[in-house]
């Protein structure tokens, strides 16, 4: 067994990952937490899809649902045209092709295993020989910019945060996946290190022909790395579209507020009024109608009555707002 | 919160049932005929059979258990095989004695443990801390019944300061608060308090140390609070956990005083139980363990409740 990259099947036009009506409700009757509630989107081959949103909006839950680490309440995941689950692509096979990198670089590594053992774990599980695994570990370490001789036999606590996150990325690459889910991969890192890791991600994507699902609360980072961006609010998709279009012409009031919340980086043009008041709401008590209406500056009477459908703004850009159509494409 | 309490109380019922079944089986599986408790050693077979029938011991085990359970649910703990007496009055007085002893031991062990533990936790790494740790470890490491024996020899026999056994000067079994009764409780209570003292010291050292390491302590210091103000915060934060440990320890004191009660001939549940075990007085054994474990379960419930009252995060 060599664990070669799995070849493409459906051609470039077929989305690599299709998520349909994915939902996850926690808790029993009475206090249901609708962490993810009917989310649909696609990741195209070779692209990076960014997901942004405030804490509690369901972005991390979405990633774990896709990965199959938790079972969805409803919905389906289709990978390269094939349904994932019984009758379709087996979960084991799916997991070979999709890997994940977590935010906490320390918690993501088993403290009792050396770097080499951590990276080599998945290949060994999938039956790669010891020698082949070792060779692959060395290649991967080199690929993420860590000198194999120096790092292979170390333990996680001997590494800096940036180095550990490189190891995590190397580990995610070990099975030659086609899609990597990155859940806040740079949020815990210092700025100087963040840049290093982002550069690395860009390089690896090209080198290994990867697609990314990049989750972050940092709009600047998402803007930098993504091809398309999905904005989540309270378990729902608020807006999705190509990064330039979405950042230049946000159609959902929430997206606009999010963008306006970024520091200006210009001492002469500081923000003067907060774009949103109050905190992100708790997904236990979901407001009726549009979930954003209690915080929305442009709220209308119908917003609390009915939930807006996704509106197509242009070919690739959609938003879930009653006002969306009025925004010029 | 009421729903939580109710659920917890309901939840303890199957536990109690399983506990009593466990005791029941334990005694019946064991070698030795329970009938020996009431018969002289040389009783002939016909007498044995007759007595067995009279006490229902000839019936199959599930039937015996069913009958017993039915009676207990109707408030009848049954009669002792050995004395023929109703169990409840005996058990009641034994429970009261054990409770008095456990409470006395708690009154010695808990404050001392709290004091040593808090000081040690507040001065982690200092010599005071090390001394308290050694004391705590010594407390949980000493075979306490042995300590009791040594203390009896010193304080009762050689110095003749305190009585060596029993619960009261007149043997009446009625507990009162006078020197005569208090003097009887001193030695067994000290003996019994050693282990909880050690455990409370250890736990409080950990709790207080952890609290003092938390961020909000820096906030409080940053607010300019003096030691007194800080202590109020530490106490309120430590209380729920400390209470939980003490509650559990009180339960252990209730059930774990067998050895001490044996050494001091203290007429409590430990002695009752010990006696029942050796005599295979099944009804007494079952009733005692049932009541003790119900007490334990109830105590845990009470501790949960108190914890919820003290810790706003646990209220629901």
């Amino acid at each position: 067994m060599t664990l070669a990259p799995i070849p493409d099947r459906g051609g470039p036009a077929q989305p690599l990952l299709l998520v349909k009506d994915l939902s996850k409700h926690f808790g029993k009757s009475g206090s249901v937490v609708r962490a993810v509630d009917g989310v649909s989107f696609a990741i195209r081959k070779g692209e990076t899809l960014g997901i942004v949103g405030e804490s509690g909006c369901g972005k991390s839950t979405t990633s774990r649902l896709i990965m199959g680490l938790i079972d969805p309440t409803a919905g389906e995941v289709i990978f390269d045209g094939e349904h994932v689950g019984p009758g379709g692509l087996s979960v084991a096979e799916f997991r070979r092709q999709v890997q994940m990198v977590f935010q906490d670089s320390y918690a993501s590594l088993n403290p009792r295993l050396t770097i080499s053992e951590s990276i080599g774990f998945a290949p060994r599980v999938h039956g790669l020989s010891r020698e082949a695994t070792n060779a692959r570990v060395r290649d991967l370490l080199a690929a993420v910019g860590l000198e194999p001789d120096q790092f292979a036999q170390r333990y996680p606590h001997e590494l800096s945060g940036g180095q550990r996150q490189r190891v995590n990325i190397a580990r995610a690459l070990a099975l030659r996946p086609r899609l990597i889910i990155l859940d806040e991969p740079v949020s815990a890192l210092d700025k100087s290190v963040e840049a290093q890791v982002l550069n690395l991600l860009v390089d690896l994507k090209a080198e290994f022909g990867l697609s990314y699902l990049f989750i972050s609360h940092d709009l600047n980072v998402v803007q930098y790395i993504s091809d398309r961006v999905l904005v989540m609010y309270l378990g729902r998709v608020a807006e999705i579209g190509p990064v330039d279009d979405l950042y230049a012409h946000p159609s959902h009031p929430y997206t606009r507020a999010l963008l306006a919340s970024r520091p200006s980086m210009d001492p002469d043009h500081r923000r003067t009024t907060p774009p949103l008041t109050g905190d992100p709401p708790n997904p236990v008590n979901v407001p009726s109608g549009c979930r954003f209406h209690p915080r929305c500056a442009q709220v209308m009477p119908k917003c609390s009555a009915a939930e807006p459908e996704m509106v197509k703004i242009n070919a690739d850009h959609q938003a879930a707002c009653f006002l969306a159509e009025t925004v010029p494409a | 919160m009421i729903a939580t309490i109710f659920r917890r109380a309901l939840y303890s019922l199957p536990i109690a049932l399983a506990v009593s079944l466990f005791c029941f089986l334990l005694v019946h599986i064991a070698p030795g005929d329970p009938i020996n408790a009431i018969l002289p050693p040389d009783a002939p077979a016909d007498v044995v059979a007759q007595v067995k029938e009279a006490y229902g011991l000839d019936k199959p085990l599930p039937v015996q258990f069913g009958i017993w359970l039915f009676r207990v649910l109707h408030g009848d703990l049954g009669r002792s095989l050995a004395t023929g007496r109703d169990i409840w009055p005996d058990l009641h007085s034994a429970l009261a004695n054990t409770l008095v002893l456990a409470a006395a031991a708690a009154m010695i062990g808990f404050p001392l443990g709290t004091m040593f533990g808090s000081i040690a936790g507040a001065f982690r790494g200092s010599w005071i801390d090390r001394a308290a740790v050694v004391l705590a470890v010594a407390g949980v490491s000493v075979p306490h019944y042995w300590l009791g024996m040594v203390m009896v020899v010193i304080f009762s026999v050689l110095l003749n300061w305190l009585p060596s056994m029993g619960a009261s000067p007149d043997g009446s079994g009625v507990w009162a608060l006078d020197w005569g009764h208090l003097s009887h409780i001193v030695l067994p209570a000290i003996t019994l308090s050693v282990i909880p003292m050690g455990i409370v010291t250890r736990t409080l050292r950990g709790i207080v140390g952890d609290i003092l390491n938390q961020d909000f302590i820096t906030t409080l210091r940053g607010k300019g609070l003096r030691r007194g103000g800080l202590i109020a915060h530490v106490v309120k934060n430590a209380a729920p956990q400390a209470l939980a440990v003490m509650g559990l320890q009180l339960g252990y004191l209730m059930g774990g005083s067998i050895l001490v009660e044996t050494v001091f001939a203290w007429p409590g549940t430990g002695l009752l139980l010990n006696n029942a075990i050796f005599q295979r007085d099944i009804p007494v054994l079952q009733a005692t363990i049932l009541v003790l474990s119900m007490f334990f379960v109830g105590l845990n419930l009470a501790v949960d409740l108190a914890q919820a009252l003290l810790d706003p995060r646990m209220r629901r």
Binding site: E54, S55, G162, D190, K191, S192, V193, E194, A195, L198, N199, V202, H217, D218, L219, N220, V221, Q223, V243, Y247, A257, L258, S261, R262, P263, S264, M265, D266, P267, D268, R271, T272, T273, P274, P275, L276, G278, D279, P280, N282 | D215, F216, T218, T219, L220, R221, G222, K223, G224, L225, R226, G229, H233, K236, N237, P240, L310, D311, P312, R313
Partner: protein, 325 residues
């Protein structure tokens, strides 16, 4: 000196049995009434330790401080415990990064505000309560009466941080110390808190020292920025100067590494390597091992901060004439 804060050659060491960590290694600065200084630095740069040193809040048993440290005319290093305790919370107050852990979980918000007021002003409980209501109003917490009776865990992250600010402001301090107060918050909440702090600072005329690792945050709130690296200020100056004309290679690197609009598709500038071990500092410029323009001279001695106080100064012997256009 009439400066609110006057610091000269401050060093802070943490001494334990096995090692000594040199967290702060000679910091000089002044702060005037009504001025906002942002100390910018990455983890382990010593920014929080410096901040805490101003209130002597570092762990008392292991901390060794030297230098001059005056706050509101009081010498912090030599003051008695009693004196320090009466300064803390009254003339100097502090806001922490994570309000969830910085607030006592088993006391209500009201209790935690009241005890500070009572501690320093000796007022009655009723008066303290009245003051608490005013304070919640000041930090824009709605339904104040209900919030005062709430425990920290019953509030959202933003409200908790506002409550934390209310506690800090309860005795109208002259100096507010803020230790990454917005880092744990969502962007939408972060900007609310920053605006609130800015408004309060102006209204109350406080001096503020604000510690952050986020250049953007500093840009929103600072009058002056001090960039810290390995326990030293490596660059200090007015916010515009530092953000637009950074002199120190480290500051330049940080600016280049901070992702912001318009960088898409470009390669990010990075600072190679990682920060030095504070238990074992190199001689000379601490940044030299990571510096693209370092040479042998850099390792000879620690470079001094050039220029006068208040001016834009940097601690580098190879200052490029004008970096980063």
């Amino acid at each position: 000196m009439s400066n609110l804060v006057h610091v000269r050659d401050l060093t802070v060491k943490f001494v334990s049995r096995d090692r000594t960590v040199h967290a702060v290694n000679g910091v000089d600065f002044d702060l005037d009434q009504g001025e906002v200084l942002c100390i910018l630095g990455e983890s382990g740069s010593g920014k929080s330790v410096t901040l805490r040193a101003l209130m002597r809040l570092n762990p008392p048993t292991r901390t060794v401080m030297t230098g001059t440290l005056n706050v509101g005319g009081q010498d912090i290093i030599t003051a008695s415990d009693r004196e320090i305790e009466s300064i803390r919370g009254r003339s100097v107050a502090m806001v922490f990064q994570e309000p969830m852990t910085a607030l006592d979980p088993v006391f209500t918000i009201g209790q935690q505000i009241r005890e500070t007021v009572i501690r320093h002003e000796g007022v009655s409980k009723a008066d303290a309560h009245k003051r608490a209501l005013e304070l919640l109003d000041l930090v824009q917490i709605p339904s104040a009466e209900r919030r005062l009776a709430a425990y920290p865990h019953e509030l959202s992250g933003g409200l908790r941080q506002r409550a934390m600010i209310a506690i800090a402001l309860s005795c109208r301090p002259k100096l507010l110390l803020a230790d990454e107060p917005t880092t744990a918050l969502d962007a939408t909440v972060q900007i609310q808190i920053l605006l609130l702090l800015r408004r309060l600072q102006r209204e109350l005329g406080m001096g503020v020292i604000f510690v952050t690792h986020d250049l953007g945050v500093a840009g929103e709130i600072a009058d002056r920025i001090a960039v810290m690296y390995a326990g030293r200020f490596v660059e200090e100056g007015a916010v515009r100067e530092v953000m637009r004309h950074a002199k120190h290679p480290y500051t330049q690197g940080l600016l280049g590494a901070t992702v912001h609009e318009g960088m898409r598709g470009k390669r990010l500038t990075t600072i190679i390597g990682s920060p030095p071990n504070l238990a074992n500092l190199p001689t000379g410029c601490a940044f030299a091992p990571r510096c693209p323009s370092a040479d042998a001279a850099c390792l000879e001695a620690v470079p001094g901060l050039d220029g006068a106080f208040g001016a834009h100064r940097a601690r580098c012997i190879h200052q490029p004439a004008e970096a980063m256009a």
